[in-house]
Symmetry: C2
């Protein structure tokens, strides 16, 4: 058996090779890919369940359609591993030396089989509609196929795309990969209607997709390659919008992942080797502190509600926590815009929403932050997690939230530097009624060792941590400890620098900045994110008409892609040594 | 008749008063309100068709529900005039002295009957879902009612909201005010399904709203008050999500507005007095230049496609223009996210999309600008109209597009100062293949009188317009002429300032800025928008380690609300006199 399996994949170097196979070989190939993906992802970490669930569908797609002439657009694209294997990139899954060669998402720089770099959800239908329209404008004839998971269907852009694609009037094929899951449980009316469709073999009284105008096909077993080949062959070269609804099983072929889908959506390296080990006791973290705080408030009968958009795992809001919260927990599904609007409504009606968002996904809500929330001064609390410079994929960078949030009027964006400040800020935010508040939760826990009694309703008051002279270091949030270290290093050069913890991202402490003029000639700002449009530039502008020199440290305006953090720190002059060097040049 | 009519409205000072009326008096009241609205809007300008279409529905709503205990959330809220009249603000429509007293949108500062300040579309369902959830958390019992037009239903947040509201599990009532129109023609599958519902009196094979999980009611005549009272009474105090679909006629009661809905959506003052006057010949404008350019390209067989999201009127893309373009015109409806994603797809498939967006609505597309467009370097052209400081409503400010767009990597944001530059930039953008480009189209036309031969593919090269000394004025886009004027005024004080036209918003010309150091001690930047996170701060940061002083001029980070532009210019030190004063203080 193993021999047979090995033989099939050895013959596959492009989608063309796959078309020559017999049906049973397509199944062998699927099994092989499944084993490769399990081994590879367990070694490197990555998206697990989504890829296991779409293997057979990907095989059938490539068997029927002709990539790269026909064009696939994978939504989020974290389920593109089988597609990568088929389209000339199998070494990234077969040879451990090449495990890091390819990104975990579609990437046009890797192959002509990928049209877009994609990592946020719900974009595929719009992108595909565009490809189809472009094709029609230049006189092409190919098939355009969007592959979108049921979880991604609830995102605004996907729904806007569905509405528009339905009336395109030419070839577009939307494959809904329905595995009854978002990242956590799927949510909302669309989830229910998909369930109804599955339970009735695609035949229901009120068909959402038909209502929009799609020709609709249902495949009950999205792991039956023949069934899918039959339907895909039928819809190939259609002259109108078609939607194919596949029922697949997330995690297919790896039982623990099928039984327990959420934790196997994305796994850390070596997860599968530790399945039977007891979970190590959780250490205190900003996530655990947040959960304790929320539970305490809910148990005290306060109308606190923990909200998120399909990513409870980012905040370690596990099932146990969610169950304890009951109606005080809301997961809106992938629908960040709605989450912010809903939070605003809850706050206006006396509830106390605490909405968790990953920094990279905040950018899906700009208009809602501005119009629904800030313009109305709705006293909601937003917790922004993971903000900072990292080695993340280009699609998941978390360096833009400061420029994004801090230039919107009315929002108070806070940057705690330690547990004590975080708890104080969170509690202040939840209990006040005047402001929309966001808190940038640091990644690593830190302690100041002293109680924070600050009244955060006195806005934009920076904390003078240590008075020095000549050089003042304004070190924001997760870079506060870096500021402390730089201060220590400067001592070696005889410089007793002033250290300031600004705490407020969205305003400057003019009094304190003014006072610095008396015995400082240089101010430096440190922020863990993009400098352009960020925190530091406001300080620089304040001093624009004075003799004060100012240096802003942070990341550049660029999309980096899995770049090691050490390399980025060097590039941005963010190592302590380089910061000190830059300071010394100016004094 | 007039006497009777006058009598009814005189008795209405709150929704309570309306509940005492007989049915026929409700009709009299509706007629009165219609006349008041026609007269008032023709005097002041404002939203016309939407308000005429919803009068009877508003009367029925207030008759059945108990505002402000029961809570109405009007989507976009430009159809809230009848609601304003009923809820204690009738003087704003009856007495010309008070015509400007109230905003054209819901405004909590005016009355407890308004929950939110709203002006962008598609937010009402999310806000209402939040109110309902807040109510449930604090143990309230009231009805929560969202009123949303069919055009707004295509927006992502509305669809996310529908999906989520459907499974709320408690009272929420969504009234779809279906008048078969967006701002222009309605677009997409949802438009078609509403048509099907209307044509079948609400009874169709595939009901989109039922599919999502709503209990569904159809009212064929949304001007029949008894019918609406009957249905609203039936759904009042429901314990689950309900959707009421009203068929109304936009512009009802004013025949020209019914026959020709788009131009009567929003009208200028005195429009109704000039109905039979021939249209004055159009003068050249950036809008006319853009249309000429697009038509020329399309006629030459190029795959150019003019795109927008339901606001062709903003760019003067009238019906004649659209008809000429045929398949080279795409209106995606209210779906800005999809528009950007689709533009990216078109560009990747060889088409040449030119997507028009009003500055205030760009903020609905941040994630798509970043992920769909910029990350993929899709060579689409975005035209950003109306960017700049104005006396607009708080909901429609156009001062945030520079901080928003210019801190996203990869996008080239250009600021032409005259027709010659605009045409050159547009043509360069449409014909290049490397960059996602946005152009900030000024409001008022200007001419330099000399051909622009710039190669804009050489990025971030500022134009030195006039070399001087001591003071350098970097005057961006629509503020270039202000820079010229300030330069002239400085001459009177013996200062021969340098004048620079940066043209690029998204990058700085380091060489030129470096050279300024030799014989300048002050640089000022002028930009027509928010300074925070904007263009000027990057210049200030560049000079942070030098002796150069820098002043940034632009608007503050704040929501202003119908504030006269003269007042804003004073507040921001943007009059030429105040700029010169600030300069003189520093040299």
């Amino acid at each position: 058996m193993t021999e047979t399996i090995t033989r099939v994949i050895d013959r596959i170097n492009s989608p063309e090779d796959l078309k020559k196979l017999e049906i049973k070989e397509l199944y062998y190939l699927s099994d092989e890919m499944r084993k490769l993906i399990i081994k590879k992802v367990n070694t490197t970490g990555g998206h697990f369940g989504p890829n296991l669930g779409i293997i057979e569908a990907t095989v059938a797609m490539h068997y029927v359609f002709n990539s790269p002439v026909d064009k696939f657009v994978f939504d989020v694209s974290h389920q593109c591993y089988p597609h990568k294997i088929i389209t000339g990139r199998k070494e990234g899954f077969m040879n451990p030396d090449y495990y890091s060669k390819y990104t975990g998402y579609t990437a046009p720089e890797e192959t002509e089989h990928d049209m877009f770099k994609v990592g946020h959800t719900s974009t595929s239908i719009s992108l595909a509609t565009g490809l189809a329209k472009g094709r029609d404008l230049v006189g092409g004839k190919e098939n355009i196929i969007a592959i979108i998971g049921d979880g991604s269907l609830t995102g605004g852009e996907a729904l806007e795309g569905l509405n528009n694609a339905a009336t395109l009037g030419s070839n577009i094929i939307i494959i809904v990969n329905d595995n009854d899951m978002s990242i956590a449980e799927n949510q909302g009316g669309i989830c229910n209607l998909l369930t109804e469709l599955r339970e009735n073999n695609g035949d229901v009284e009120n068909n959402f997709f038909k209502a929009l105008g799609f020709e609709y096909y249902y495949v009950a077993d999205g792991h039956n390659i023949e069934d899918m080949i039959e339907v895909f062959s039928k819809v190939k070269d259609t002259d109108h919008p078609v939607l194919v609804h596949l029922h697949t099983i997330k995690g297919k072929g790896f039982e623990p992942a099928v039984l327990n889908k959420e934790p196997f959506h994305w796994i850390l390296p070596n997860t599968l080797d530790k399945l039977n080990q007891p979970a190590s006791p959780q250490e205190e973290s900003y996530e655990s502190i947040t959960k304790d705080y929320i539970l305490e408030k809910v148990n005290a009968g306060e109308p606190v509600v923990a909200m998120n958009a399909a990513t409870p795992g980012v905040f370690a809001w596990n099932k146990e926590f969610r169950d304890k919260l009951g109606s005080h927990y809301v997961d809106v599904g992938i629908a960040e815009q709605h989450a912010v609007g809903m939070a605003s409504g809850i706050a206006k009606r006396g509830g106390k929403p605490i909405l968790g968002l990953m920094s990279s996904f905040v950018q899906r809500t700009y208009d809602q932050l501005s119009q629904d929330l800030a313009l109305n001064n709705s006293p909601a609390t937003l917790l922004i997690f993971w903000g900072g410079i990292s080695n993340a994929d280009a699609t998941h960078l978390c360096t833009f939230d400061i420029p994004l949030i801090s230039n919107i009027p009315n929002i108070i964006y806070l940057a705690p530097t330690c547990k004590e400040e975080y708890v104080r800020m969170l509690d202040w935010s939840v209990n006040q009624k005047e402001h929309s508040v966001a808190i940038r939760v640091p990644f690593e826990i830190s302690y100041s060792g002293e109680e924070d009694n600050t009244d955060y309703s006195i806005l934009n008051k920076f904390k003078l941590v240590e008075q020095g002279e000549k050089v003042a270091i304004i070190a924001l949030g997760s870079f506060f400890n870096k500021g402390k270290e730089v201060k220590e290093m400067l001592k070696e050069s005889g410089i007793n620098a002033t250290l300031i913890n600004p705490r407020f991202i969205t305003g400057i402490d003019k009094d304190m900045l003014e006072k610095l003029k008396t015995n400082h000639s240089l101010v430096i700002t440190l922020e863990d994110g993009e400098i352009n449009g960020g925190f530091g530039e406001k300080i620089t502008r304040f001093y624009g008409d004075s003799e004060m020199k100012v240096l802003n440290f942070g990341s550049k305006k660029e999309f980096t892609d899995r770049t090691p953090i050490e390399e980025l720190y060097k590039r941005y002059h963010l190592t302590n040594e380089l910061i000190v060097e830059d300071i010394k040049k100016l004094i």
